[in-house]
Symmetry: C2
Subunit: 665 residues, 2 copies
């Protein structure tokens, strides 16, 4: 994901080479719209003989890494050849080349270069940027350590300034301080930006970033004191050499500390940075990109499962009749259609987050951070909310394909293992939910103190809360289960109620005379639940808002059905909350169940069209089950026959073990 | 899993070689209890130099298959050398050798041999069994086809009898009829039992089993007309050559049809089998084994996650204090402790199912099938209920380990990919839930018609149902959230209510004048929900019942806490059901939340002891994160350094692609 930062960081910069076209111009000289540009770049890759690689599922991990480095090297050359230097176009092209997979140069392009741009002094830009742009320097970004992830203050790597030589001495003082996980660190990079605790003049000044040469520019061999390598096989990410780095008294010159903000002078004097919240902004950006990716991963999975459910015939509904498409089973619809609706919802939410981020980027660059806390809180929670549900949803799609979903030819195992780490990276999901909760509780307390809230949390204002029902015994509100606006309101009131309950739990804990911190920890379950409800409300609200932008009546109608399905299914899944808070009555809940069934039947004829609308080309989806033409079985057989175990009719293990065994028995 | 059928099918048989000891006798001559036998066999494997294999995560798929065949061949020799021939002891030893993974001979041992025993005529036993026992014949069981899984009547493979030559002509008439998935079919087996539609004298007589030679006994090359191979890489099961088989006019002698029951005479006359429900029994047995496996997989995952959560320090609860063990966070406890309770519950349920099955096996062999429908329905639903929750739970455990859970060294990816297919095989889970629902609805209707039900569904009797509350508005029942028996009752009433709701949904559909079948399909969501509630009730009930068997007061106390946690967490997760059916009031639900938090805190000091009690040896768990001694980080570093990408300091891709690229830019 971190590559996406490139879109953010390169924007508006004059890149060194070559001249940047304002937009892609095709061979017949015409300009293209954005969607067309994406399709044009995709077609460039699909028709390029250099990118018709062997099926990666048939390769060993070392071969997959090798193939990825090869493609990345070709990609860099072609980007320059075609004159593609707009960040979004680079991202697009890269994504097509690697079929959406992470690759060995991701951190070079997405973190190393952007960090130089953001944090290097002008002199450092001179020294490092052009060599890095030309891949003479291949860099990565080494932050996470073996024993330290989300909590940055816990990082242990040290950079101790030695004024005698004007050098920093870099060390990994413990086993837990070994840098662990950075992509491209294991074998690809010859430099890293290393986050380390700065010590100078006998004092620790906290985390700073240092450019550390790792490998010889001539031989690529690790430099003295540098212990570097690959961290070994993972669930997925086979193409990436996530690495470890142990530093043993590695000396780097003083000017290798990134000094745009903080500085260390020749004598070792530390100069504080002016307070800067820019990295805050980058985090928001990356998390909002992940929300879009959640929609994307789920959309791909739904495409595969829904298309295959229309190809697969199984069992019978009515005796004597031919086996029906499995898409005709209500249970299959109930598995897949809410996920289809979710995929649309997350794509819209991702677009919204991206727009908001870009809208307030101008404010941020002018030092106005007023909207950032809300967006930061929202992006943290939504990242967690969407990645959890999307991950689980991918597996539901995979299992909805029966046994064949378990084959690598379905592409679903690959989608899962490459998406599911988003639940952990860029902020572990539970920690993210608690960050959002912190904002919600703070807002709640402000409102309780009479402060008038604005923005997305304005529902926490006292005046609004007084309108809420208090328990099941009170009169149920007038929720209309057929009206999306009314359901959005119900979600809002649920969120308000759950935030209030979390706040009260903290208060009750405090009355037991525990500390603020223990009260917080002892209420953490309620806090996560409140965040979850808040995020759910935001998604339903944004989905409903999106409908207002759609002019075409046919599209509007089917998307309205999807939005209603999304809202009602969420209510059914969390019916306890809605009953508990008195927002729904028991008879209304029965209405919700009935309405859901009706909507499933209503969506059935449009299901395939709705996934076709995501417009994934077969070459990109790379799934035998999800083929556009539905010729699943012929291609599955053909795929299997190309499997490495079928290279010979008789596997060598027969001669080595089975024949000798037979002789002995 | 299918291997487990061996336990079932070999029981009580005189196996050909060698003499079967009544129990293991150790070298000092003492006999051992069952648990000791398991530990003894485990220690035999752990100390055996032949079974100290390289880390499988570092091998390619072909190497993993090769290594598995090697181990299986060694295993067969050692079983004979040690004189181990009791089925449970074989299973135990095999499971230790392969660390619980599926292996290439699973279907030979678990399906091919048992099917011969159950369905071969005495003459066929003479011809086939001893060669198969001595692995001259290596067999598999080919049922599933590319286009046909759960619905057996849909299978397309044909066996057409030709009286002129007294042969069956075997064919795969369509692409969808190609046999697909059988383990060991791709490269290992030289024979298969093939399920095919029997055609003789111009009539189709449905599915029969045929022994089909696939490969030459001398060269192992496929025979004429046999197209056989590996189906390609999967999510997991890397050691198994799941295969395809296309038959093109393959002729087999008449006596290759298994003729213990049905027969085809020389002139082609078909002789019907006497009705036999024995295969029914095998299915029940295998599904009940899977329930135990769900407990096992979850227990291993909890062991890893809970041990690592006591090693991992992260962030802070109180400022200034050292980073706490992540096990101290309420959210982490809330993720893991209910799963720990679930693991215990499923282990107990698995034991119970096994006992019941063995108890009624005697009845079954005497033709008394009266208890089988209930057990069949229960095993189908519980298989689905436990595998779904355990699969999701394994992933929760994995993600609770943060980034390191994503590394193969955690063992959690491996546990997941090897367990999750249980949701699909031996009966797809949704289909299983609907089978249980069919039994529940049938029972409900019987009760409504005045018939008095006995057994586990007796709660559906009219008299009991009249005692139930009807809606939230009515007086809540006297559920005591601190009393397990009272909670078991609440689960029972919930199940009764949801079965009733599903039955009413069918009735309402019928009133719309749709067919029985459409009414069923249009109520499928409610039916699955009812089955789920029924299974949940059974699990809670059996967990509670187990407590009665425990004499040790300390153990009883901590298991009671676990059982209460399990029951309360289920109520919280399904609070909508309990509120909707009027079984709980809103204030009681708040009590449940508070009590849950108390129980988490209460279990915290015992958490590590509770996973240690599962007694997994490090060699079997094979997880760096789950090590008994807690020395996680040193071993993670050591493991990573052995990764294949670290065999050379500089990967060849540098010389092939990166250096040339640098020269061009």
């Amino acid at each position: 994901m971190s590559f996406n930062a490139i879109q953010h960081s390169f924007r508006g910069l004059q890149l060194p080479a070559p001249a940047r076209p304002t937009s892609i111009t095709t061979q017949d000289g015409s300009d293209l719209e954005y969607v067309d540009i994406y399709k044009y770049l995709e077609s460039l890759v699909i028709s390029d003989p250099d990118f018709q690689s062997e099926d990666l599922n048939f390769l060993s991990r070392s071969e997959r890494y090798d193939a990825a480095v090869k493609k990345s090297a070709q990609m860099i050359l072609k980007l320059r050849e075609y004159g593609i230097s707009d960040p979004e176009e680079i991202y697009c092209y890269k994504s097509c080349v690697h079929r959406g997979r992470a690759e060995p140069l991701d951190l070079h392009l997405g973190m190393f270069l952007p960090t130089l741009l953001n944090q290097a002094s002008p002199e450092q830009m001179e020294t490092f940027f052009i060599p890095a742009w030309n891949l003479e320097i291949i860099g990565t970004y080494a932050q996470t350590e073996m024993g330290h992830g989300t909590h940055l203050r816990g990082l242990e790597t040290t950079a101790t300034y030695d004024p005698a030589t004007q050098e920093f001495v870099m060390n990994s003082p413990t086993i837990t301080s070994i840098k662990w996980w950075p992509g491209g660190l294991g074998k690809t990079s010859n430099h890293a930006i290393v986050l380390a605790q700065l010590h100078t003049q006998g004092k620790c000044h906290g985390l700073q970033a240092f450019i550390v040469p790792l490998r010889s520019m001539n031989t690529h061999m690790p430099l003295p004191g540098v212990v570097v390598g690959d961290i070994g096989p993972k669930f997925g990410f086979d193409e990436v050499d996530n690495g470890y780095l142990k530093l043993e008294n590695v000396r780097i010159p003083r000017d290798h500390m990134l000094m745009k903000y903080a500085k260390v002078e020749a004598d070792g004097t530390y100069v504080k940075p002016p307070s800067a919240k820019l990295t805050y902004g980058t985090m928001v950006f990356i998390r909002s990109m992940i929300v879009g990716e959640a929609g994307h991963a789920l959309a791909k999975s739904c495409t595969i499962a829904i298309r295959y459910s229309s190809v697969r015939h199984q069992s019978e509904i009515r005796p004597g009749e031919p086996e029906p498409q499995i898409m005709d089973y209500q249970t299959q619809q109930y598995k897949l259609f809410p996920l289809l609706a979710t995929a649309y919802a997350y794509k819209f939410v991702g677009q919204y987050m991206n727009q908001v981020y870009h809208r307030i980027t101008g404010d941020i660059s002018q030092g106005d951070f007023s909207e950032l806390p809300e967006l930061h809180a929202l992006s943290a929670g939504l990242k967690a909310f969407t990645t959890w549900t999307a991950s689980a949803g991918i597996e539901v799609c995979r299992m909805a394909c029966g046994g064949h979903g378990y084959s690598r030819c379905s592409a679903l195992p690959d989608i899962y293992v490459n998406f599911v780490p988003t639940c952990t990276y860029e902020g572990e999901n539970t920690v993210m939910m608690l960050q959002t909760a912190r904002f919600l509780i703070k807002s709640y307390r402000q409102a309780s103190a009479g402060h008038q809230l604005s923005g997305i949390v304005s529902y926490l204002n006292e005046s609004e809360r007084r309108l809420q029902p208090q328990s099941v015994s009170s009169r149920p509100t007038v929720v209309n289960v057929n009206d999306l606006a009314s359901l959005v309101d119900a979600y809002k009131l649920r969120a308000a109620k759950l935030v209030e309950m979390a706040a009260k739990s903290i208060q009750q804990e405090l009355q037991k005379r525990v500390s603020q911190e223990d009260a917080w920890n002892n209420s953490a379950i309620d806090l996560v639940r409140a965040s979850d409800a808040h995020c759910h409300y935001v998604v339903v609200k944004l989905f409903a808002a999106k409908l207002g932008e759609i002019g075409d009546t046919g599209v509007h109608s089917v998307l309205s059905t999807l939005a209603l399905l999304y809202a009602l299914q969420g209510i059914q899944q969390h019916s306890g909350d809605f009953l508990q808070t008195g927002l729904l009555s028991v008879p209304q809940l029965s209405q919700v169940s009935q309405r859901l069934k009706d909507l499933l039947a209503q969506l059935r004829p449009n299901a395939v069209a709705l996934v076709d609308a995501f417009d994934y080309r077969d070459e990109m989806l790379n799934s035998v089950l999800g083929r556009y033409d539905g010729n699943v079985y012929e291609h599955m057989f053909e795929w299997a026959r190309r499997s490495p175990l079928n290279k010979t009719e008789v596997h060598e293990s027969y001669h080595k073990y089975l024949k000798p065994l037979q002789a002995k028995l």
